[in-house]
Symmetry: C2
């Protein structure tokens, strides 16, 4: 018989305890950031009807990346590739009962069939943060503030900046100013999105292929380096107004903002090159960038969308939100040395040198556990040397050691493995002694 492989499915991850600790640490900071702003966590099932994605998700996702199957009742079910459709379904289901604005977040596991590469796997966990039913641009400002707070909680705030644009401004520019047809706009937008990846030569060639005249390309370049203030004069429109308002709100909240695309020191910067494809978004769009030279790339993004629940026959409800993947974030934290040493899984190792000590050892262990100290007892009787080694292997801070003399006096040796010190304490005093040493 051939043996089964011990490897996880290609493009997926096993979280052994050391990795799971990091994942939990990351999730916990995500939760702290979101809940501090009053956002509530939700979740839905991993499998959803295929139609939920067929309707709204991008063509690439549905045709090339979706994991799907027929269930035993002949329903076509998909493993969720993104959370927004589930969120929209859930909000639509209780649209009248939910108090507005809806402030929600979730950390789902999402699946797409992709060619695995650095920063891109077949599954990842993605923080999704959304405000719904808040039409005010204060919602856009709040979402950006939450995103910045998140990075602050990871100690990464000085390595990032958010680049912000507005889809209404882009529509104004492409159709009214340049007079491009929608199909041409689509091609141009895709080229702009890909510019950093494909390089200048291919970018220029692509524009020519799309039928964009040379003078239009010049206008494009000029536009890309325009400040928000100058656009306010040259191209007054709703998009510029919205951006100006959002930037004003951010500034009031103590965020350093800049309307100049070249600015590298502000936390939030206007950047007319931010596109975010063409789906979903209708107003504010943004991307969080790592600003350090060795890792200069978009980490995640989001924006404002309209009519999310229309597919479910409900009235318009607009919102603004973002999604942030754990793989990209972990890369960022690694790059900048922001992952702290994780806590040990064991605080105290209670030894068992003789069977007769077992009752007392278990009693002490129980008392330590009740006081919230992670406590391990061995599953075999062993001598002092062996058990001290086990305590070290467990990375325990303390070891409780039994000696015949001490035992007769109702005492144990409490060894502090970090400080390399020890003291003799009564059975009853072990918890207090450990607590004192931890203070």
């Amino acid at each position: 018989m051939a043996f089964l492989s011990t490897q996880p499915y290609k493009g997926t991850r096993d979280f052994y305890p050391d990795d799971h600790k990091i994942r939990s640490w990351i999730f916990s900071r995500m939760r702290d950031a979101c809940t501090s702003f009053g956002y509530q966590e939700y979740d839905g099932p991993m499998l959803e009807p295929f139609e939920l994605y067929a309707a709204k998700s991008g063509e690439e996702i549905v045709n090339q990346q979706l994991y799907w199957m027929m269930d035993r009742g002949d329903r076509k079910m998909a493993v969720r590739p993104e959370m927004t459709p589930t969120m929209a379904r859930m909000v639509a289901g209780k649209v009248n009962e939910l108090p507005k604005p809806v402030r929600w977040f979730s950390i789902p596991n999402l699946w797409r069939y992709e060619r695995p590469q650095r920063g891109r796997l077949r599954e990842h966990w993605q923080l999704n943060v959304d405000v719904l039913g808040g039409n005010s641009l204060l919602a856009d400002a709040e979402i950006l503030i939450v995103a910045l707070d998140l990075m602050k909680r990871f100690g990464g705030e000085k390595h990032v900046s958010i680049r912000v644009n507005n889809r209404r401004l882009m529509d104004e520019f492409f159709s009214k100013k340049l007079g491009l047809a929608p199909e041409t706009t689509l091609r141009v937008v895709k080229l702009i999105d890909a510019r950093a990846k494909i390089g200048e030569e291919k970018f220029t060639a692509g524009l020519a292929e799309a039928g964009v005249p040379a003078n239009v390309k010049d206008e494009l370049e000029k536009f890309f380096s325009s400040s928000l203030a100058s656009l306010g004069n040259a191209m007054p429109c709703a998009g510029v107004d919205e951006l100006t308002k959002v930037f004003g709100y951010l500034s009031e909240s103590g965020i350093r903002v800049s309307g100049n695309p070249g600015d590298t020191t502000s936390q939030v910067v206007f950047d007319p090159m931010i596109m975010r494809g063409l789906d979903y978004y209708t107003g504010t769009v943004f991307e969080m960038f790592d600003t350090s030279p060795e890792n200069r790339r978009a980490m995640f993004g989001g924006g404002r969308y309209d009519n999310l629940v229309g597919l479910f026959g409900k009235d318009k409800l607009s919102g603004v939100g973002f999604g942030m993947g754990d793989v990209t974030l972990r890369d960022f934290l690694d790059t900048h040395g922001l992952l702290p040493k994780m806590e040990s899984s064991v605080d105290v190792f209670v030894s068992l040198p003789k069977e007769e000590y077992r009752g007392k050892a278990e009693w002490i262990a129980g008392a330590l556990r009740s006081a919230n100290f992670k406590t391990v007892t061995p599953l075999e009787v062993n001598g002092f040397g062996v058990q001290l080694k086990q305590a070290v292997k467990h990375a325990a801070r303390f070891a409780v050691l039994f000696g015949d003399t001490e035992f007769l006096e109702g005492k144990v040796v409490l060894k502090d493995l970090d400080q390399n010190s020890q003291e003799v304490v009564t059975f009853n005093d072990v918890v207090a002694a450990v607590a004192k040493a931890c203070r």
Copy 2:
């Protein structure tokens, strides 16, 4: 166009924030119990190769309940129906590196195609707790202690007892004592497992059909009411020895144990009717029962298994563990009124009666968030009455209210909505005043 349904897939659950809070509360207590014993959390991918289950999982799971699909690279992938195969794969993958005993736990989401009914859905979350590489029966005792500690952390310890049996004892009894052939044993075990569900009449008829003579049925009944002590005399064997040892360890750890199947007051009771099917288990088997008359049923169970990693070509490694589903647990907690009132998602609501207060409102909100108070600011300017209603709707404990007179003096009104009291404090003192009121 037909609208999409807002319902989740049949047999699955949407976790809206109120339900998600309960789920998080449950998971958090599970984690506390496991980590207090030094167990480490792990996780693996939701999709695993189909063969992983074909090899070891029960026939019913593989042929009737597994969700599976071909991926775009023609690999047959399954949505995990249980966690043990993933755990075995991961342990096998690092079998030499992992310090023994391996104490692991996980809370995976598992999927089976079932007819949805009370206590049984198509997906559930299941706490899995295992000790591996601890051949000593101390591991069996520890797992039972962890299971009891878990129930204690939910406040449910007085409503449960664990019934324990041993597969070696059953083998001895069925094959040596009764002389039943393996196929007959299989049928008898299934009948015993189903006895409570099918009733006495069908049970007796089933035994006759299986070719069990009437006198053997009498022996069966006598066996089922035997105490551990009496079996020690009548049928000395490894199974009885193991049970006796495990009960001795538990007693040393301060657990109330009883060797009499009829005992209804002990925490751990010997019960020769506990079967746990025929797969996996090789020694200790157990089930946690709700002892209250209105809900008398098995909540979860587990036991000792051997050679878990053999399928991966690794040396024998035995272990003991259990799995506990969240649906059953939630039913138990509901039945006994053990779910506490969940915390509000908002501590403080900072109002915005005029645009000009916004900068200060955001500053106060930021200070509150930094001090770990969940704080919401409105997304629209609104009068006092509207915003106080919003604060109540958010179930906020406090509201920060702005008045023109107070504002000019650098002060706000801090309203305690629980106590229905208020005080005027300076901008700088809001955090301290909230903290003081919460103490």
